[in-house]
């Protein structure tokens, strides 16, 4: 376990010096700073009387600050889920191929680290990095809106953990693909394809309903069964961020499906890794 954490920390150490990662944290800081400086919220007795962004009047309707914040959090959660997933798929696409690059993997495998520790340590390291980014963004935005409106809601923070769950499934596929084809493009492509499939899988019933009944419909329907419902997760994340009620059974199914899928992808990667010569 200690070696696994060492591998994860090692990856984090290296990642903190990468342009992509610095860009991620820089972008979050920039967005938060820009919002902090340009967003004006006129809150009187718990009601939002007006809002301006960069001096432009957004709304002068009087609504409850809590309700207004709920809408903002929901929009931010959707944007962060999909936008963040795309950015992170690109930003994290070369971690595994880099780990497996000739001259590096031999050296790593000559150190007292088991292959499975390298694999899961890399996975944990990337998730740690992404968690830090998500946490930074969510805490920053929560604090910003809290200071400006006086309404302190943990919705964004909680919703962002669902986003992490979705990315965990995406990165499991990306990592697994790298053990079959060592390429950042393939790894990134696998992540992007999985994101697309995950959205399609969320609307499996309605989409397959568009197909003529028969073999094709059955095949498509069955092929989408193991794919994690990422679109459903995005909706769940947005609802949690907006502090709206969620169906516990549906949420558990979505989370369990995502978790099982990640475990299966990682098990396949581990099986492949153990048999590889470098």
């Amino acid at each position: 376990m200690r070696q696994l954490l060492r591998v994860a920390l090692d990856l984090l150490l290296e990642a903190t010096r990468r342009r992509w990662v610095l860009g991620l944290f820089g972008s979050i800081t920039l967005v938060l700073t820009a919002l902090g400086l340009s967003l004006e919220l006129d809150v009187v007795d718990g009601a939002l009387a007006g809002s301006k962004l960069f001096g432009v009047l957004l709304s002068d309707d009087v609504v409850s600050a809590h309700r207004a914040l709920s809408g903002v959090s929901q929009a931010v959660a959707y944007l962060a889920f999909y936008g963040g997933a795309v950015f992170l798929v690109v930003a994290c696409s070369d971690f595994a191929p880099e780990l497996l690059s000739p001259g590096r993997i031999e050296h790593l495998l000559s150190l007292p680290v088991a292959r499975w520790q390298l694999l899961f340590g890399t996975y944990l390291g990337v998730l740690g990095l992404v968690s830090a980014g998500i946490l930074y963004g969510a805490v920053g935005l929560t604090a910003l809106l809290g200071v400006k409106t006086g309404v302190w809601s943990p919705g964004l923070l909680l919703g962002s953990t669902v986003g992490l769950l979705g990315f965990a499934a995406l990165y499991a596929v990306m990592l697994c693909s790298a053990f079959f084809v060592r390429s950042a493009s393939v790894s990134g492509g696998a992540g992007a394809a999985m994101l697309g499939l995950g959205v399609v899988a969320s609307y499996r019933e309605s989409l397959t309903g568009l197909l003529e009944p028969g073999l094709v419909r059955t095949l498509v329907s069955w092929a989408l069964v193991p794919v994690p419902r990422l679109g459903g997760l995005a909706t769940m994340s947005a609802r949690i961020a907006a502090e709206q009620a969620i169906d516990g059974a549906v949420a558990s199914r979505l989370a369990a499906g995502c978790g099982l899928f990640s475990v299966a992808a990682l098990a396949l990667a581990a099986w492949r890794f153990e048999r590889m010569d470098f």
Binding site: E14, P102, R104, E106, H107, L109, L111, P112
Partner: protein, 295 residues
């Protein structure tokens, strides 16, 4: 005392995805005693790097028995006692030399102080350790790789082309380092195309060709060759008679029994032996003769 490396009938076959196979190592049997400095030589594609990778568990043997430091290759506790420098080391460009060494040390389960890291870097001639590895020359990368391999005073050092890309002055420094490591009692396995380097550092040598060990022994045994002797006869000896006895330009090729018979024949013609010594070849000759024999 057990051998540092013991390999019996080792075979490694690489199989292509759609048929076809390439046997990189074929029935290799070899033992490297603890404390020895073993030089592995052979032409490109002989299987040297594959052999090294099998010892580290990076490549899995198809068949045969392999023991490294008394354990199986790839065993995590065994690997903790090995230092390895790959042929083409890929280093993380964004880190500094010190950060990289610390990262390797952490994965080796070591916790070196700043002073120890500085000494490790100074030892390989890397003083400016704040510089990012991305801007390092090939030689500097090689030196850093060597420093990483030597971290934690390993019992077995496996170095694949350690002086590749290092200038002549640097090579002397690296050689000195390796000799220091030897003096510490480390077992050294060196794969180098620079045969003069192998001759200067190693006390045992193995010639590998097409995955098979063609020749193996101490440096003296290998250089001497088992079958050639240089004889010097008293002036005035009949050159034609000596040639007929088997001494061509004073060199006799054959085993000891044949040599004695040839000497008897030469003496019968009146020639008197003044000096006799085994012919010593350099490793270049050893390699080239081994390759000729094999082909």
């Amino acid at each position: 005392m057990t051998a540092a490396v013991a390999v019996t009938d080792l075979t490694k076959t690489y199989r292509a995805l759609f048929g076809g196979a390439h046997e990189a190592l074929s029935g290799l049997t070899l033992s490297i005693p603890r404390g020895a400095a073993f030089g592995l030589i052979g032409p490109n594609g002989a299987g040297k790097t594959t052999f090294i990778k099998v010892l580290l568990g990076v490549v899995q043997a198809t068949s045969g028995e392999v023991t490294v430091l008394g354990g199986a290759p790839g065993d995590v506790p065994v690997r903790a006692r090995i230092g390895y420098l790959p042929e083409r080391m890929h280093l993380p460009a964004a880190l500094s030399a010190r950060q990289f060494l610390r990262s390797v040390a952490t994965l080796k389960g070591l916790a070196p102080s700043d002073g120890e890291l500085s000494r490790a870097l100074e030892r390989v001639g890397l003083a400016n350790d704040g510089q990012r590895i991305g801007s390092f020359s090939k030689g500097m990368r090689q030196r850093l790789g060597l420093a990483a391999a030597m971290l934690g005073a390993p019992e077995l050092l496996i170095l694949d082309e350690p002086t590749d890309g290092i200038d002549p002055v640097g090579r002397v420094e690296v050689r000195q380092l390796l000799l220091e490591e030897r003096a510490r009692g480390v077992t050294l396995l060196l794969n180098s195309h620079l045969l003069s380097e192998t001759e200067r550092v190693c006390d045992r040598v193995g010639v590998l060709q097409r995955g098979q060990l063609r020749l193996e022994g101490t440096l003296d045994e290998v250089r001497r060759g088992a079958t050639a002797f240089r004889a010097r006869f008293e002036a005035g000896a009949d050159e034609g008679a000596l040639r007929a006895a088997g001494f061509v330009d004073g060199v006799f090729s054959g085993d000891v029994a044949a040599l004695n018979e040839a000497l008897d024949r030469a003496r019968a013609t009146g020639a008197r032996l003044v000096a006799l010594s085994p012919v010593e070849r350099d490793l270049e000759q050893v390699l080239s003769e081994a390759m000729k024999e094999a082909s």
